[in-house]
């Protein structure tokens, strides 16, 4: 197991290298650079800025310099937030984003899968129709629309919760709900389909034939097997949630790291783009590893 783990961890290195190289090439291929603004800067100023951030060197040389800096633990300085390091920006927003993401994730696994199970067990009943209907609605509404609706209802209409900000329990509820609604709906649909699939399996018929109660059949045989497909998506889902959402963080004025991903791309902030993408790739790689380990625990067939 330890050898397997070490091997998988080592594999993350070439993955990150590949991601960094592709990102580096893509961001330099995209038209528009960090100093292309509505109001053009003087060419002398652009030269100073390029020199300051090492952009005066040929592009093929910039990548090894970047790698060498990474090995020293230096992600560089943001071109946008000129006085702050990329690592500092990511680390300062990470606790906020991770907290919000985890709460949204909690919501998605506490609400989604039970809804899916309920729908599958009561297949073709009104419970199923309502569950599927709700899941479809929440899977279809874009986050910013749901966020605005939540603000209108809870912050403006009922005046129960604030419009945004960060720091109190009240401020967390609406964004967590807006962020968690889509994965919850997605989880519900996956679990429903998976439970229906498992219910049709021979071993379920066998379990029933052996005289096991429906509760035992569902808890012992159906649920455990039906959750395997869910596990596959939970890793990337959690990664997406804890690395933040530009839209939700912007809408609810949350000082997280999510908005930096998009802002960095819009601003052609190469240092922040590279830092953010590498961070995102690392989180996804680690969570995928965790999911694979859990997979082995849940499904003994995959251990080999």
């Amino acid at each position: 197991m330890l050898v397997y783990l070490a091997g998988r961890l080592l594999w993350i290195i070439p993955v990150l290298l590949g991601v960094s190289l592709i990102t580096f090439l893509l961001m330099h291929l995209v038209p528009g650079g960090p100093w292309d603004m509505d109001k053009p800067l003087a060419s002398e100023v652009v030269e100073n800025l390029n020199r300051k951030y090492g952009l005066d060197k040929p592009v093929w040389l910039q990548y090894p310099v970047f790698l060498a800096n990474i090995l020293r633990g230096d992600l560089g300085v943001s071109y946008t937030y000129q006085d702050r390091g990329v690592a500092e920006i990511i680390l300062s927003g990470l606790p906020v984003t991770a907290t919000l993401g985890l709460l949204a994730f909690l919501f998605s696994i506490l609400v989604g899968p039970p809804l899916g199970v309920l729908a599958a067990v009561r297949h073709n009943s009104w419970v199923d129709y309502v569950s599927v209907g709700l899941a479809t609605v929440f899977a279809s509404i874009p986050g910013f629309v749901l966020g605005l609706i939540l603000i209108l209802v809870f912050a403006v209409g009922l005046r129960l919760l604030p419009t945004g900000g960060w720091g109190t329990v009240e401020q967390v509820l609406l964004p967590a709900l807006a962020l968690g609604a889509l994965p919850a709906a997605y989880n519900a649909r996956i679990v429903r389909a998976s439970v229906l699939d498992v219910l049709r399996q021979d071993y379920i018929r066998t379990a029933r034939a052996k005289g096991l109660s429906e509760t035992m059949v569902h808890s012992r045989h159906v649920l455990r097997n039906a959750l395997i497909p869910l596990l596959t998506v939970l890793g990337p889902e959690l990664a997406a949630l804890v690395t933040g959402s530009f839209i939700i963080e912007t809408l609810f004025s949350i000082p997280g790291v999510g908005r930096f991903f998009i802002q960095a791309v819009f601003a052609r902030d190469y240092a922040l783009i590279m830092g953010s993408v590498l961070f995102y790739a690392l989180v996804i790689a680690l969570l995928n590893l965790i999911v694979d380990i859990l997979y082995g625990i849940v499904d003994p067939r995959t251990r080999s």
Binding site: V30, P31, G32, G33, D36, M37, D38, K39, P40, L41, A42, S43, E44, V45, E47, N48, L49, R51, K52, T80, Y81, Q82, D83, S92, G93, F144, V145, L148, I149, I151, L152, A155, V156, G157, R159, P162, T163, G164, G165, W166, T250, L251, F252, S253, I254, P255, G256, R259, F266, A267, R268
Partner: protein
């Protein structure tokens, strides 16, 4: 799509708030809560360029000069505005002398000296700082040479730095030498890049000096808290040497979504908020909100700039035909919900050199437009190559493109293809002069036509993306830049602008109007056409909260 949803949401919102109980205000505590719309990238006067950053810096620092309500210059830290009459400007117009007031102090109680200004200006020009506004100060002797020093060693840079024409003659006298006379340079001394900064703090704390504990300023407020991405709190500077502000505290929230900021205003969480585009009419028709509207002209003009180097826009008659085919009044009433003013010339209202009569020969006139189109060699548009209009695909720019498309079709029978682009890609294309016809806006950096005419339309200027080139125009603006007699300067600017407007390097479309809501209990707000992100940010020290 998003705009439509937001519009629907806000309509619902107005209905909901109409039925909601009023929120109790913050009492009469002198706290003003505003929206900064985002995190400042920096609060360093040398590095700042975004209006939100400048809005904060203006509260914390004060320069030698500043602006009055009418945007004329006034002395702030300086005893008086230098002039030939008071001996502040040498007879050849190349040397400026600023005498500092007595008793000006930093927020930690230390005296502000001429050396702080010298250090600030030379630091701005330091190539290692990468200051975006450094080039504005190239009129200073040796400034360009120092700012563009590339492969020079430390000793060489130090020598270049010493040759920059800024020198503290003593604690209270600053001398600035210019390479050539330039009247508008005094305006630059009222801008944030010329503010004094504390050398000891910067040398001790490096780039970190802008965090609250070491962010020492000489203005009416000081930053006491910077919760990144969330809010900035400013409190009155107890060591302020001027008139003490009436407010105790300014809280600047960083709500990026203007719809949410607007909702926060309605909930009583902000005292001022912009009205999201497209909702102005609903606000004007709302009984309560209409009484809270603050609207005023910004020193800004938006135009549809041709690339004169590219056919068919090298054809003046074609440009004239298009200018005559665009109904600006209809644009303001239908597209901008009545907010803004139609533009026929470039220099905006409120700016010296604005002439309301200028460019009226290009008022909406479809028959004349069609006649000029024929004279241009394209009767009824026949033979005209396919026209394209490029714009940055943000905000309401799409509606502008669609309006233009409809106007050309309707009034000239010409089809127009729209090319929305990602903002940076659009900027790169325009900066490299690869556009054909593009949307363009300009906000004043300082209230002088120099910032509008020579920088945008002089031959070879880095900002001249129309490719307009006129030797007579160039000569006039050069003379105007050096002219110290205000009336003569204005006459020169006026002649230059008239000539340029007649040549139609762009269709001047509208002058921006700012449209805000302000709580009735906020009094003393004084706005100017050059306000930064926050309305009235030049004079927030005069604002106060009335009992409510």
């Amino acid at each position: 799509m998003r705009a439509i949803v937001a519009a629907i949401a806000l309509t619902l919102l107005l209905a909901v708030t109409a039925c909601s109980p009023a929120v109790s205000g913050p009492g009469t505590s002198q706290v003003l809560r505003l929206n900064l719309s985002g995190e400042p990238a920096t609060l360093d006067p040398a590095r700042a360029s975004w209006a939100g950053e400048v809005a904060v810096i203006r509260q914390v620092f004060q320069g030698l000069l500043g602006f009055n309500h009418d945007l004329t210059l006034r002395p702030v830290v300086a005893q008086e505005v230098p002039s030939a009459a008071n001996g502040g400007i040498s007879p050849d117009g190349r040397t400026l002398l600023f005498r500092l007031r007595q008793g000006v102090r930093w927020s930690d109680g230390e005296p502000v000296t001429a050396r702080d200004f010298e250090y600030g200006l030379k630091r701005l020009l330091d190539p290692a700082i990468g200051a975006r506004y450094a080039s504005f100060y190239y009129a200073i002797v040796g400034a360009r040479e120092y700012n563009t020093a590339k492969d020079t060693d430390d000793a060489g840079k130090s020598a270049l730095r010493d040759r920059v024409g800024v020198r503290a003659l003593d604690d209270r006298t600053l001398e600035i030498r210019l390479a050539e006379p330039r009247y508008s340079f005094l305006h630059l001394m009222a801008l944030w890049p010329a503010y004094p900064v504390r050398r000891d703090m910067i040398e001790k704390y490096g780039d970190r000096w802008i965090e609250p504990a070491t962010y020492i300023g000489n203005g009416p407020f000081k930053v006491t808290e910077w919760a990144h991405q969330d809010h900035i709190t400013l409190e009155t500077n107890a060591n302020y040497w001027g008139t003490r502000p009436k407010l105790d505290k300014l809280v600047l929230r960083m709500v990026k979504d203007e719809n949410v900021a607007y909702v926060s205003y309605l909930r009583g969480e902000l005292e001022l908020a912009a009205v999201p585009a497209g909702n102005e009419k609903a606000v004007m028709e709302d009984g309560a909100l209409s009484k809270e509207i603050v609207r005023y002209n910004a020193l800004s003009t938006f135009a549809l700039q041709f690339n004169l180097k590219v056919a068919p826009f090298d054809n003046k008659k074609l440009r004239q035909a298009i200018a005559l085919a665009v109904d600006r009044d209809s644009f303001i009433s239908k597209v901008r919900s009545g907010v803004g003013r139609p533009a026929y010339s470039w220099v905006p209202p409120g700016m010296p050199g604005h002439d309301p009569a200028l460019g009226k020969q290009y008022s909406f006139n479809p028959p004349q437009a069609r006649q000029l189109l024929a004279e241009a060699g394209y009767p009824e548009g026949k033979g005209l190559p396919a026209l394209k209009f490029q714009y940055s695909d943000v905000g309401a720019n799409k509606t502008i493109g669609e309006f233009l498309q409809a106007q050309l079709k309707e009034n000239l029978g010409i089809p127009l293809a729209l090319e929305p682009m990602e903002p940076r890609a659009f900027s790169q294309m325009v900066n490299e002069r690869k556009h054909t016809w593009a949307f363009f806006g300009w906000n004043a950096d300082y209230p002088d036509p120099d910032n509008w005419l020579s920088e945008i339309f002089a031959s070879g200027s880095r900002l001249n993306s129309t490719g307009y080139s006129n030797a007579r125009f160039d000569e006039l603006v050069q003379r105007a830049k050096a002219e110290t007699e205000p009336q003569k300067r204005l006459a020169l600017w006026s002649e230059a602008q008239r000539m340029m407007v007649d040549d139609v390097p762009a269709v001047f479309l509208y002058h921006r109007e700012r449209f805000f809501l302000k709580k009735p209990y906020v009094l003393g707000l004084t706005t100017t056409g050059m306000d930064g992100l926050i309305p009235g940010d030049f004079f927030l020290g005069q604002v106060y909260i009335a009992p409510h």
